[in-house]
Point group: C2
Chain length 343, copies 2
């Protein structure tokens, strides 16, 4: 490799014995130049290791190759995992994904959206904070940037939504629990940030009624994203004041369940479906750690890959459609029940 540094495409074109416009064409679409020409460029590319200045490139483009991925809380392994998969898909598709986390704060989400607008991305995957989102700011963003909402739906916002079929999640866990023991009560936060929580509660109510069981919802207090601690404290409070109404608890999500299991352990309460167990616990999400709780957690799993694939597919057609869909589509992906030791 030559030591000499290439300053711009002009120089590089000269070194490869071609004109700058031809080289420019190549970088925009390698298939648009004659094979022999492509080979010459690629040979030169190996020797001189030149990359077009992305700032100069994007200055004239109205549409960049950037794709934004915005999640509400990256320290939540569920989002880390889904972001990881989407990001990989973007790279494989030739896009430049940029990952952002709002860290649970509205202010930060707004800042991210504003900064992202300035990047002129080809498209954005946005999992909004939910209840804490600044709806006006999100709406403004969706107006300016082709956006696919995921995980957390906000009505009429973005060009499409890809998320979980919460009814499928709850139906499967409730069905299983009812089939194998007492009907579950439903354990959740009173004021959840995420709209999925409300959908899950409603699904629980419906499924229980359809099955002829009396639904019982247990709501605990707590704000923020420290779900495990909220679940742990809430469980202690419930156990201090008489315990759960049934011996079967269905948690709104795995992180609450992790806290619940932790509290049960602290009290010497055995959880599981065997003899000597005081409680059965199930949940939703298949959080990466739910395999390692004590006992391991029976849960309804997201189809991470399917969600990511559907997201990508949706964004592709959105980009091809020029950034707008005529009608907003909503895709809900069903769950997969995973039986483990807790229920």
């Amino acid at each position: 490799m030559s030591q000499r540094k290439i300053r711009n495409m002009e120089q590089f074109a000269a070194l490869s014995g071609l004109s700058r416009p031809t080289v420019s064409k190549y970088f925009n679409d390698p298939a648009s130049v004659r094979p022999a020409t492509r080979e010459r460029i690629e040979a030169a590319l190996e020797r001189y290791d030149f990359r077009p200045n992305i700032y100069a490139v994007n200055q004239n483009r109205s549409l960049t190759k950037n794709v934004g991925i915005v999640v509400p809380y990256l320290a939540d392994p569920f989002f880390a995992e889904i972001a990881r998969i989407i990001q990989r898909r973007c790279i494989d598709a030739g896009f430049a994904p940029i990952l952002y986390s709002a860290h649970g704060e509205m202010k930060l989400e707004n800042e991210i959206l504003e900064g992202l607008t300035a990047l002129k991305p080809a498209g954005v995957f946005l999992a909004p904070l939910g209840r804490l989102s600044d709806r006006a700011a999100v709406a403004r963003f969706c107006r300016d940037v082709p956006t696919v909402l995921f995980d957390s739906n906000i009505e009429d916002m973005g060009e499409a939504f890809v998320g979980s079929d919460n009814h499928s999640f709850v139906e499967q866990t409730v069905d299983y629990l009812c089939r194998t023991g007492a009907p579950p009560c439903f354990f959740e936060m009173r004021t959840p940030a995420n709209p999925n929580a409300n959908k899950r509660r409603n699904a629980y109510l419906r499924v229980m009624e359809e099955a002829g069981h009396e639904p019982r919802v247990v709501q605990i207090e707590g704000e923020g994203w420290a779900f495990e601690e909220i679940g742990r404290r809430g469980t202690h409070e419930i156990l201090d004041s008489g315990g759960f109404a049934t011996d079967t608890v269905l948690c709104s999500n795995d992180r609450l369940a992790i806290g619940l299991l932790s509290a049960c352990y602290e009290r010497g309460l055995r959880v599981g479906r065997g003899d000597g167990c005081a409680l059965r616990v199930a949940s939703h999400d298949d959080h990466p750690f739910s395999r390692f709780t004590c006992p391991s957690l029976t849960t309804a799993a997201h189809e991470y890959e399917a969600v990511a694939d559907k997201c990508m597919e949706t964004l592709f057609s959105l980009i091809e459609a020029g950034g707008r869909f005529s009608t907003r589509t909503e895709t809900l992906i069903p769950a997969r029940l995973i039986l483990r030791a807790s229920a």
Copy 2:
């Protein structure tokens, strides 16, 4: 707010009744213009909502406001947490942090570094993969971009290193365990990806010898980043073949410990320091979930905030120094012992 869209700074300057260079000065440093002028610009800003085109801005700046943050595996909550704090600090300091995860793959780490070079960042925080890193690629990157290594040290690479004082971590856990019961054996992966693992083993050997105890290292097989599963399987294998040499186990890191605790639970083996407990377990990192394991995990905690602060401080002085330090500094931050139920 006027509906009319501002195309460029020229237009915006006209609308605020000023010249473009003055407005340009304002955006580069609001304090560099007269207060009266600033007010006029900010008034116009509220009415017209203009932002300089970042691509045009960065094209001419030799130094952008971008800061890269590269971690080896974002689905590991430890990295999610440290990245979160650093990112916030960057924003507060007026930088534009961009977060990347290599997802445990060398190929991806290389791609990230290449793409990051093209962004001409003011500086980069890099936590390399470690053993799996392409040393030549990392070296080349560090040559081109002002880099502060963190978490995982690679000799002589980057302008500075900020990480954990692994000796302090191990010293505190070993001391505590020896003081309160049997000296621990050391539980780790045979071929760890992260250099900290080796430092911890060496520290264990030294501290044990200094205390006059015989060190015992237990190594389990496994590749990749699924530490919990590796720890769980490894523990089962050990328990199948006679068990640990002592009733006290010190894990190299919390994620292995989570797997170990999971395996113990599956076998009905009680962990903790009370009567009827078969095993004491301690570890290192204060992983965000170690509070909720069963039992909760005694561990040596990273000073997340201190590490992040030191990282920022180092990058600031690096940027001020023009991207190069005359001598490479290494900062090691000691641990804080956190006593919980497992030991």
